[in-house]
């Protein structure tokens, strides 16, 4: 699975694959919009790809105690239901707050420790065989 930056290369190559990733990214940014209004800074780097129904993808992140984060997930596939949950390096769920799974969904993390965390993206339902997704994160000091 490649990050979105790599997906940008597909755009340069003029492939159709970029289209769904780009659309998914715009939805991920939309999922982040409410938090931007609350003072969170959205990172320009992002993760993304495509998954089948019930497939999972883990994305690794370095998070810092003292910050709050919103991980915001989106897809352009209508009626798709996606979820994102964040775990620490021991596999313990660390979600502090979350929206319901859906086409847009987000989870807030307030790390108790600085270190490595894993955001698990799951396609719970989708009318498509493969569902493009994109994940961005926003941060601010607590």
């Amino acid at each position: 699975m490649k990050k979105l930056l790599a997906a940008a290369l597909l755009l340069a190559a003029g492939t159709a694959a970029w289209a769904y990733v780009d659309d998914a990214l715009s939805f991920a940014y939309e999922a982040a919009t409410p938090y931007v209004k609350r003072g969170f800074n959205v990172r320009e780097d992002a993760w993304g790809g495509d998954l089948g129904v019930q497939d999972k993808q883990a994305v690794k992140a370095q998070l810092f105690k003292g910050n709050e984060y919103w991980f915001c997930l989106g897809t352009d596939v209508k009626r798709a239901v996606l979820s994102v949950n964040v775990y620490d390096s021991k596999g313990q769920l660390v979600n502090a707050e979350a929206t319901r799974p859906g086409q847009l969904t987000a989870v807030r993390i307030a790390p108790q420790r600085t270190g490595t965390y894993y955001a698990i993206v799951t396609i719970l339902k989708s009318p498509e065989e493969r569902t493009g997704w994109a994940l961005v994160y926003a941060y601010k000091a607590k």
Binding site: A8, K60, A61, F64, G115
Partner: protein, 273 residues
Amino acid sequence: MKTPKLPPTAAAILAAAATIGLLAAQQGPETIDLEAFPAQSIDEVVVPVPSEVFVVLDKLGNPNWRRELRGSLGKQTTNRAQVALLLGTVIAEGFVAVEAEDPERVKEIGRRVLSLSKAINVEKAVLERANSITDKAEAKDWQAVRKEFDGALQDVKGAMQELGDDELAQLVSVGGWIRGTEVLTSIVNKTFTADGAELLHQPALLEFFSDKLSGLSNRRLANDALVLDIRRMLDRIEPLIGDGDGAGITPEGVKRIHRLTGEMVGKITLQGT
């Protein structure tokens, strides 16, 4: 930075969510076995921007950011590895200048980002950012300047990857991390606290950078003296960043990391420490 625009479908979803109060817990299991994930199902870590750490430091104390600014942004050579690493340090310096709220320094850094980008053929990708950095620094819109530096980093890396220079792009990240860590350790050293020191607990990043540098396919890059020095530096830092929970980072360890990263910044900028 991509400008968010609200697609009609997204607007409808958000409106519906707000209406029926969907802010509820997701149904993720309380624990998972991370070992069960095959390697291809775990994406690489996204390298944090320096300000993700700096905003925490602001809360822990009252750092004198101006004192953390380097006197000079360094010299560039015709060695592309050195230029990429230097570009990373200069962008990191931009985040320090933003924390210091120094508009002249920020504008100087914006110009330097442009000249370094030109040296590695990605000037076009950051021209708009550089201009925006200048405009927003003049307006003292620091949050916007921070976003522009974040965007500049992504634009430079993206442009390098389009040119087939993925490995050089990694060096930009590495350079930024080294300078960011030098500043972090400088501040933590001044008023040591366990919370401050814990910010250095970055095992995934160290592993990521070590893997990238040890796996360089471009022989010229792989054998570059700076790259070899950085690999050795990462090996020396790894035992100093604490145990599994980030505990056990000592004042001596912080000083050691500061010395290692400071020496490396000196080599990258061709200025010594």
